[in-house]
């Protein structure tokens, strides 16, 4: 692992991961390594298995064949977080949602207050900390979900199309927050439909087609000259 600072739950290594749902191979023999501190983007068409891959890497879904290890460990480490396409917020205040997540992680008292306040400030929601979370706008809800994830100070943050249902300014705000979370040392694994977004943020691209990884490569190289036919078609489709 070279000179990289030791991180307990990393790298995440998937080997031969296969997932079958309703007799369809949603993931088909996926081999993949998520390196510490990387920003890995999973790209692919609808139904390619991107969301499922994230859930398997996060440990939410167990593969039917193959295995995932987190820092050579076969049990999922605690310091991971995930932000879903549609944020799932509780019927509490904005800050209450963050405190709830921290309490589950065993963080309480002054430390929890400090982390919650910092997380809200990071996503510019400090002013509405006491507003009920579920009546916030879509963009605010997604920023709150990011704040909740970042308050957990995860080693790895998974994001499943976090900007899919947001307008461009809200999407940009989310991107900036993801960047700042990455800058503080968190490994990012994200799916998106926006190639422009992947170009801006990714340093590694994993391309999925029908549950198979057709490419796992440096982002710059991927966008310059994708090697697989599927990826070329995908990128050309976006341009035309």
């Amino acid at each position: 692992m070279g000179d990289a600072e030791a991180v307990a739950g990393l790298p995440i290594v998937a080997s031969g991961v296969t997932l079958v749902r309703r007799s369809v191979r949603v993931l088909d023999g996926v081999d993949l390594t998520i390196e510490p501190r990387s920003r890995t983007f999973v790209l692919g068409a609808n139904g390619a298995g991107k969301s499922m891959l994230l859930r398997v890497l996060h440990g939410l879904v167990a593969p039917d064949a193959g295995r995932v290890t987190w820092g050579h460990d076969t049990t999922r480490p605690p310091r991971q977080a995930m932000v879903f396409q549609r944020p799932v917020l509780l019927r509490r205040s904005a800050v209450g949602n963050i405190r709830h997540a921290l309490a589950i992680a065993g963080v309480r008292g002054a430390e929890a207050r400090r982390r919650a306040d910092e997380a809200l400030a990071r996503v510019c929601l400090a002013a509405i900390a006491d507003r009920p979370a579920r009546v916030l706008s879509g963009g605010e809800q997604q920023r709150l979900a990011l704040a909740r994830a970042s308050a957990l100070e995860p080693e790895v943050l998974f994001l499943d199309e976090p900007t899919a249902s947001l307008d461009p300014p809200s999407a940009r705000a989310v991107e900036a927050i993801v960047e700042s979370i990455h800058a503080s040392g968190t490994t990012i694994v994200m799916t998106t439909h926006s190639l422009a977004q992947a170009k801006r943020l990714a340093d590694t691209v994993v391309f999925l087609a029908a549950g198979r990884v057709t490419e796992c490569t440096d982002a710059a190289r991927f966008f310059r000259a994708p090697r697989s036919r599927e990826a070329r078609t995908f990128i050309e489709g976006e341009r035309s």
Binding site: L60, A81, F84, V88, L90, R91, R92, R134, V135, L152
Partner: protein, 234 residues
């Protein structure tokens, strides 16, 4: 026709003047039904939440049984509790028959299925929405349950009110195990049954008015609470 209007006028007078006979019966009714709602909540809320979240063999039959038990015939429950508590029954030595405690036991048996079944439905809907997020947060089984119960608190309040309404308006079970003893176990429903057969229609009607008003007020309250909560918490 004359009897009806006379009785009605007398009944209204009793209600507005807080007739002591009437208020005593109403107070006991509310106390007994509140106690059974409380006991049923202690059993029914965790039971409903557990069935909503856990996956175990026999879960589907249990859900069917819970739903079916919502319609338990009160007189049958009354009879069973009577047999349990009567002198010769297994719990006879506690001397509970014909006491308010016996009525609380019978009502609790009647409304635990209501509260458990409705809680199961409510929590299961929320669980569908929250499952992945709670798993992602690595919440334990207990933490997930508490989170779901708290997040559905406004719907569950309606569930508890439904249970209370059933307890307060039920007559078959409490008349068997309580015995409708004046000043001890006489509640609104049993008093209405008795006074009607005795011909004291004014008291029966007065109690009827109170009972209807109570059930109506509970439903209006439940409706307004849910509306408010939806606007406030989404």
């Amino acid at each position: 026709m004359d009897t009806l209007s006379q009785s009605f006028a007398l009944a209204l007078q009793m209600v507005t003047h807080l007739d002591p006979r009437l208020t005593q019966i109403v107070a006991l009714s509310i106390a007994v039904s509140l106690a059974s709602t409380f006991c049923s909540a202690l059993i029914g809320l965790p039971l409903g939440a557990a069935v909503a979240i856990a996956r175990f063999p026999g879960r589907a039959p249990l859900i069917v049984a819970l739903n079916a038990a919502m319609g338990l015939p009160p007189v049958v429950v009354g009879l069973l509790v009577y047999l349990l508590l009567s002198r010769a029954g297994p719990l006879g030595r506690f001397g509970l028959l014909f006491t308010p405690t016996a009525m609380v036991i019978a009502q609790t048996i009647l409304i635990v299925p209501i509260i458990a079944a409705l809680t199961r439905q409510t929590v299961e809907d929320a669980w569908g929405e929250y499952r992945e997020q709670l798993r992602s947060l690595d919440a334990s089984w207990m933490q997930s349950t508490l989170t779901l119960l708290w997040d559905t608190r406004w719907s569950l309040l309606t569930v508890l009110l439904a249970g209370f309404g059933r307890a307060a308006s039920e007559v078959g079970a409490v008349i068997i195990v309580g015995g409708n003893i004046d000043g001890v176990t006489r509640v609104m429903t049993t008093a209405i049954a008795l006074e009607t057969s005795k011909g004291d229609l004014a008291l029966a009607l007065g109690l009827g008015i109170v009972l209807l008003t109570l059930v109506m007020a509970l439903n209006v309250g439940a409706h307004l609470t849910r509306q408010w909560a939806r606007a406030r918490f989404g």
